[in-house]
């Protein structure tokens, strides 16, 4: 039975950063991931990572932009920490080997990004997440003696002792289907977001909200779950992401009439207003009939010098060519808002600690909350690294003070029985994919850029019905070697839990703020709603709602225009 001081679940940027930090603090560390670490969805982050590293820039400016971007729902103490520590993190990455873009003098160069008052986004072409993730994995290989890697192991349950403290997890080795108890003094969830709850989404197929649901099921509070980011530039149909870096480099948004419509919605920042603002503007254009027939507007990257596009936006040149048949250096590409990120997640403090003792969370699975109602582009990589590191450090220090807990290995029998029940299902249920598609389409229809009470109620009804259908969904694979069918069934359950939390929170917040725009409550209402909506489990019933205050340190809410 493996036992470690710190057990990390998920090996994207947050998880790997946490593992390296915990190991550096002297803890024994295991990192578990259902996919090989470099397949984690952090790999798809394109545009860059924010930091006020340039001497003319200040962390206060970065923090204010983030607060404003969050529509004043972000917790300012956490935002201050993130922005203050950002420059050091960039340099740490640079020294670890990230091939950041250099300017002509050979120093780190930046690009502009949405909602930012200075160009403070550091980048590697448009593969920044990829470049950082692979470098962290290099470091993880280097620390092979200190960090045990369990690649392609799927976590099924978080374990708790009698006092509710999290003391490890049960995981299934995908190679042979064996279950194993992992004892741990502290557990860090770093398993990413939940994009697959929506269809389409920019997120990969593995992004199924596992950690959010696992924490929720053992009683952790979720926060800001209504805040779901629609990215302004995703491809129609398949939902693939066109990086904000394109607009950062100077691309324009045009409606079908050829108007640069952002002039009306954000006269100062134009295309580089915050994402919620741009997405809403696009959706308004489309809804009011000024979009193209396929329900899109155009992103004109030909405004960017071709040579610059080919160097700095290489990946979207390929995406345009391979997935839309468009040469973006020569013609505009049709795009629309698409689900991209969830600001909400497992509620944590600034050390990553959740409301469950011994359980931490970092990255998209968590809600610190630094993003509040709307995340700024290039702040998510920063979030994963800063709070991944802080969680790793704090968990390691905590672990040094407590004895190793143990869980009887017979505890796997319970999990085994659940899995056997899935494998042994009667044939004839709906297909997992059909349930998942219905869920994703409903969420994308009713819980998207614009929402109202009727639509959300419909979405809730659908989610409740699918929750009844899911446990009977058809299973074809009865084996134990890479049985992805069984994993799909378990993930479907996670996604439905997360979907319900999103819908319930969206119904609860009766105002418009950040990514949540309620057409039935179109104004921001600081008097009643300058607070977080928390969601917690309530057995099989509809989750419970509670509130927590927003931390304000120095920036009082103001009207928000770009």
């Amino acid at each position: 039975m493996p036992s470690h001081d710190v057990l990390i679940i998920g090996a994207g940027l947050a998880g790997q950063r946490a593992a390296l930090a915990a190991a550096e603090c002297g803890a024994t560390v295991a990192i578990i991931s259902k996919v090989h670490p470099v397949r984690s969805h952090s790999v798809a982050a394109a545009g860059g990572i924010n930091a006020a590293l340039n001497p003319e820039d200040t962390w206060e400016s970065h923090a204010f932009d983030t607060v404003k971007g969050s529509d004043y729902l972000g917790d300012q103490d956490a935002i201050e920490i993130m922005c203050r520590e950002a420059p050091g993190e960039i340099l740490w990455l640079e020294h670890a080997g990230v091939t950041f873009h250099r300017n002509e003098s050979g120093h780190l160069g930046t690009r502009a990004f949405g909602g930012a008052s200075a160009a403070r986004t550091y980048y590697v072409a448009d593969i920044t997440g990829h470049a950082i993730l692979h470098v962290l994995y290099e470091q993880l290989m280097k620390q092979g003696q200190l960090v045990d890697r369990y690649e392609e192991w799927f976590t099924t349950d978080l374990l708790q002792d009698d006092h509710g403290r999290c003391i490890g997890a049960i995981c299934r080795n995908l190679r042979d289907g064996q279950l194993e108890v992992f004892n741990a003094k502290t557990v860090i969830l770093a398993s990413g977001g939940a994009g697959q709850v929506y269809k389409p989404t920019t997120n990969g197929l593995i992004v199924t909200g596992d950690g959010i649901a696992q924490a929720f099921r053992i009683g952790a509070r979720l926060m800001d779950m209504e805040m779901v980011q629609y990215h302004p530039t995703t491809l129609a149909g398949n939902g693939l992401l066109i990086t904000e870096g394109a607009r950062g480099e100077g691309a324009w948004l045009l409606n079908a009439e050829g108007d640069r419509f952002m002039e009306q919605y954000a006269p100062n920042k134009l295309e580089l207003a915050s994402r919620d603002v741009v997405s809403r503007a696009e959706q308004t254009e489309i809804n009011e009939g000024r979009g193209f027939e396929d329900g899109t507007v155009a992103l004109d990257i030909t405004k960017v010098p071709r040579r610059r596009t080919l160097e700095a936006l290489r990946e979207i040149v390929n995406i345009g060519r391979d997935f839309a048949g468009v040469d973006i250096t020569r013609e505009p590409i049709h795009i629309r808002p698409g689900q991209h990120y969830i600001m909400g997640g497992v509620k944590t403090d600034t050390n990553g600690l959740t409301t469950i003792p011994g359980l931490y969370a970092a990255g998209e699975v968590a809600c610190v909350s630094v993003h509040g109602g709307n995340r700024l582009g290039a702040n998510s990589l920063l979030d994963t690294l800063i709070f991944g590191r802080r969680s790793g450090e704090h968990a390691a220090k905590q672990a040094a003070q407590i004895p190793m807990p143990t869980t009887p290995s017979s505890r796997v029998d319970e999990t085994q029985a659940n899995i056997d029940a899935i494998v042994g299902r009667e044939p004839g249920g709906r297909r997992i994919a059909a349930i998942k598609d219905e869920l994703g389409e409903a969420m994308n229809e009713y819980c998207a850029v614009f929402r109202d009470a009727d639509g959300l109620a419909k979405a809730h009804e659908i989610v409740r019905r699918l929750k009844e259908e899911a446990p009977k969904a058809a299973i074809d694979d009865r084996g134990s070697v890479f049985n992805q069918d069984v994993i799909g069934a378990i993930e479907l359950g996670y996604m439905l839990d997360v979907a319900e939390a999103i819908v319930v929170a969206s119904l609860e917040r009766k105002e418009s703020r950040g990514a949540q725009f309620r057409t039935d409550f179109p104004e921001r209402n600081d008097d009643e709603w300058l607070k977080h909506v928390d969601i917690s489990a309530n057995g099989a019933d509809v989750p419970k709602v509670s509130y927590s205050p927003v931390t304000i340190t120095r920036w009082e809410p103001e009207e928000r225009t770009y």
Partner: protein
């Protein structure tokens, strides 16, 4: 919508049965991906079909498979393209004048299959990656702020950094097929990522290590398969050639595999003859016909020579008397290149895309763009390197002045021109 037949290689280690082919008709648009088709089968008909996949946008590197014999990512290979562009095993060419709609999908090669389309990447690919000390060894002192390094240098290593570790190049590496211990294209490209990084302190040690390893940089046979396979333009073979150039020319690493001497013998041979004189090459690589090291090599290559004679690949006259003499033009090229103060590394990843290329727009569909046409040097070295591969010892063909960079140009072209697999077709025949 067109209909395609997917023939998927299935294997269930628990069934106690051999691998078999599983056929499905799938109706999807021709620009849908092979992965779309596979997922349609899995979602709608058979949930037990095993494949790793996630991002569906060619960045996570999970879905490497062979499609009609050619390795690549299932997610960025269009169905129509896969149907048309097969080669190698698993490719079922259509009857004359017929449109092929059959797409075989198999697990990648050179790695053990775990189940269906899932291979054991760790046993092969990642083990080799770990072989090359795959992390930055910082130059001391580590600066307080960032290392100051040239812009182009960072773009240059970003090419190998762009590798997504999908394994497509490993799948079809011919050298690895012969020598499973070959460090291989992906890991050597990873090695270049550090060798080419000015922040790394151990360029020489890394190169020395990979030169002295008999499964290292001189084990590559220049077959271009990895360049053809790579979905990200990493050009592994080009990176291997750059490792050789830096090892041989900058550090003069005279390895025990004789890679260095072979390279120099080859260059000398071409300089003198214009066309390769094979009978001289081997002894010259070992210090000349009379050199004590050359004798056993000559003796050991006799069976190969005899076979070649028997098959009339060479005649005794041709083998011994090489009448071709290098024309002045060849000498001029040599003088020009060797007269340069610094070696010019033409990396099209850094320099290759000029604004507004001259040829007509849209002529070749959306994605076509060609780098400026300038260098036409690869011809002498590439074809002459090839015939060696099947018969002789591991190829130690020349690299001066740069077939590698030329490779990236080829790659750009073949990647975009869906019908053109020309660079590697001959090897696979």
């Amino acid at each position: 919508m067109p209909e395609y037949t997917l023939r998927i290689r299935r294997y269930d280690p628990q069934a106690g049965e051999a691998a078999y082919w599983d056929e499905h008709q799938v109706e999807l648009g021709e620009r849908s991906s092979v992965l779309d088709a596979i997922l349609k089968v899995r979602d709608e008909r058979d949930g037990s079909l095993g494949i790793r996949c996630s991002c569906q946008q060619a960045i996570c590197g999970s879905c490497g498979v062979r499609m009609n014999g050619k390795p690549g990512l299932a997610c960025n290979t269009h169905l129509e393209e896969a149907a048309r562009r097969g080669h190698g095993t698993g490719w079922n060419p259509p009857e004359e004048g017929q449109r092929n709609t059959l797409i075989t999908v198999e697990p990648m090669g050179n790695m053990p299959v775990i189940r269906d389309l899932i291979v054991d990447m760790d046993a092969v690919h990642w083990t080799k990656i770990r072989r090359v000390t795959p992390w930055l060894i910082n130059k001391e002192p580590v600066p307080e702020r960032e290392y100051v390094v040239p812009h182009d240098n960072m773009v240059d290593v970003t090419q190998t950094m762009a590798c997504i570790q999908c394994g497509a190049c490993v799948s079809d590496c011919l050298s690895m097929e012969i020598d499973p211990l070959f460090v291989g294209p992906a890991a050597l490209a990873k090695a270049y990522r550090f060798v080419g990084d000015p922040r790394d302190a151990e360029q020489f040690e890394r190169l020395k290590d990979l030169s002295e390893d008999e499964h290292g940089i001189y084990d590559c046979t220049h077959c271009f398969n990895c360049i053809d396979a790579c979905p990200k333009g990493v050009d592994p073979m080009s990176q291997i050639m750059r490792l050789r150039r830096i090892a041989g020319s900058d550090h003069e690493i005279k390895d025990r595999n004789n890679g260095y001497r072979h390279e120099h013998a080859f260059v000398k041979n071409i300089r003198r003859n214009g066309l390769l004189h094979e009978a001289d090459l081997l002894p010259d690589s070992y210090g000349g016909k009379l050199h004590p090291n050359a004798v056993p090599e000559l003796v050991s290559s006799l069976p190969t020579v005899l076979t070649a004679l028997a098959r009339r690949k060479v005649t005794p006259a041709k083998a011994l008397l090489h009448q071709h003499k290098a024309p002045k033009e060849v000498k001029r090229i040599f003088d020009e290149i060797e007269g340069r103060e610094e070696r010019v590394e033409l990396n099209l990843y850094v320099t290759g895309y000029e604004d507004a290329p001259e040829h007509a727009e849209g002529e070749h569909g959306a994605g076509e763009r060609e780098p400026p046409e300038e260098s036409s040097q690869p011809e002498p070295s590439v074809p002459s390197g090839e015939p060696e591969a099947p018969t002789g010892p591991p190829d130690k063909s020349p690299t001066y002045p740069g077939p590698g960079e030329e490779g990236s140009e080829r790659d750009e072209r073949s990647e975009r021109d869906e019908s053109g697999d020309s660079p590697s077709e001959s090897e696979d025949a």
